[in-house]
């Protein structure tokens, strides 16, 4: 409770200071005070502009993220289980991994066009790695004792997968999922800044070209909330799915 109060007090102080500094020293197109930003945010929400753009952005980021998870989890399991896959697929991915995904956006546009495909592809590509690597680590860290127990008690491969492997890797998979959620949002902003005709990032660029700084701030705030909520959602899913863990390691 003490902590909560302090956090709240700090934020309130900062907002008040920003309000005063902005009103005294800056024109609105450089630094709008928080009251104006809030007002703009409210207006954009009420007239539907915000939701219209946010919806498009959400489809892109969610699609890219889930495609990444759907590919990375099975690939990670395979690479963790079979050395041969790690040595082949794994080394190709190791070569690609150092290339910043942002650098691939122009290429993705050339190959896949200005439409949704190139955007979703770039987000999926960037989100893939962390999920893949963590899943693989999860398979590597399966407790051999658990495998022995399954063998001793006459369980076949199917039971080994459904009763040990899946559960063992879940905490690792979620570490990857949490990290990738942040990556996906960074890439979302990037693809929408560079070659988009819609979406929250596009709205941000438009606002900039008309020097509508309060609108820019509004978009930035929404992106921030998006990141915050994404992390919250993944963490909640993790807590709900991995219920068996002791409190202190959560």
């Amino acid at each position: 409770m003490k902590r909560f109060t302090r956090t709240l007090a700090t934020i309130a102080t900062l907002v008040v200071a920003w309000e005063i500094v902005a009103r005294l020293f800056f024109p609105i197109y450089i630094l709008p005070p928080p009251s104006i930003v809030a007002e703009t945010l409210l207006r954009l929400t009420l007239d539907g502009t915000l939701w219209q753009n946010l919806r498009i952005s959400l489809v892109r980021v969610v699609a890219g993220y889930f495609i990444a998870a759907a590919l990375a989890i099975p690939a990670g399991i395979a690479a963790g289980w079979w050395k041969a896959i790690d040595h082949t697929l794994g080394s190709v991915l190791e070569l690609l991994r150092p290339v910043p995904a942002l650098a691939l956006i122009p290429l993705a546009i050339v190959w896949l066009g200005f439409g949704e495909v190139s955007k979703i592809a770039v987000i999926a590509y960037a989100s893939f790695f962390s999920i893949y690597l963590n899943t693989q680590a999860g398979v590597r860290n399966i407790d051999p004792l658990h495998v022995k127990v399954m063998l001793i008690y006459g369980n076949g491969t199917r039971d080994l997968v459904t009763k040990v492997i899946i559960y063992s890797i879940l905490p690792y998979v979620f570490t990857g999922l949490r990290y990738s959620a942040a990556v996906a949002i960074v890439l979302l902003v990037a693809v929408e800044l560079v070659g988009a005709q819609s979406g929250l990032g596009y709205f941000l660029v438009q606002a900039q070209s008309f020097l509508q700084t309060p609108e820019m701030f509004a978009a930035i705030v929404v992106f921030g909330m998006l990141g915050f909520c994404a992390n919250l959602l993944v963490a909640a899913a993790e807590r709900w799915i991995i219920r068996w863990r002791p409190e202190e390691v959560r």
Partner: protein
Amino acid sequence: MLTQSHAMTSSAASSICTPPLAEVTGLTVTYPGGVTAIKDFNLAVALGEFVVILGPSGCGKSTVLQVVAGLVKPSSGQVRIGQKLNPPPGKDRGFVFQQAGLLPWFDIYTNIEIGLRAKGLSKKASRAVSDRYVSKMGLDGFGHLYPHQLSGGMQQRVGIARAFAVDPPILLMDEPFAALDAQSRILLQEELIGLWEGSGKTIIFVTHSIEEAVFMADRVVVMSTNPGTVKATVDIDMPRPRTEETRSNPRARELFEELWGMIRRDAERAIGSPEFKEPAK
């Protein structure tokens, strides 16, 4: 019935009436890298017998048990369980590990049912069995908890229940109480003996604790280190049922001294040579 047992006797080439239920002959285990963990190990275990394999750390006693379980393949020699030679893990043998080895994501019931479900029992039938063992092991009210919510001693009770629940004729126990505190250890020894006496089950129990061996065994097989092989076999001629009083029996003291005399030298060597470690389990 008689002819049947005769046929078995002749095939096992044994002089006693019933052939040993489990037999290890000329077992040698060499690990990749050339370390010979076990060399020419022989053991015959009769039906219903409680045999303890006793030895200092690093003598390979756990390896013997894992070979009998079918988890480790012999380099040479063989294991016979009933009529089967070098069988893979099967429902004729239960196993209790040093770490309870419970699956942390399943509750206590489900953990006990792991072997039952694999045997093809329905969910309902398995629950009836696990429920019985939960009561038997004094775990009433804990059935729906997760393993991490239980103490080490409780967890190992579940490990034992899991092995007994499958109702295998043979139970293999690999230092099941070694990770417990001294008091839980005494209590669980007594519980296990209580569970076993009158059950007709055959137990092969590995330990480095001489007291534990004397308290529980019909027969103690003493192993020597490097490479591990049988040094001696000592019959534990103390009355059953074994209870708290057994521990203060003067004969227990004598047997302790006798066994300690046999392994002391090896134990000293095990302490003195840090580079020699028991092969990974």
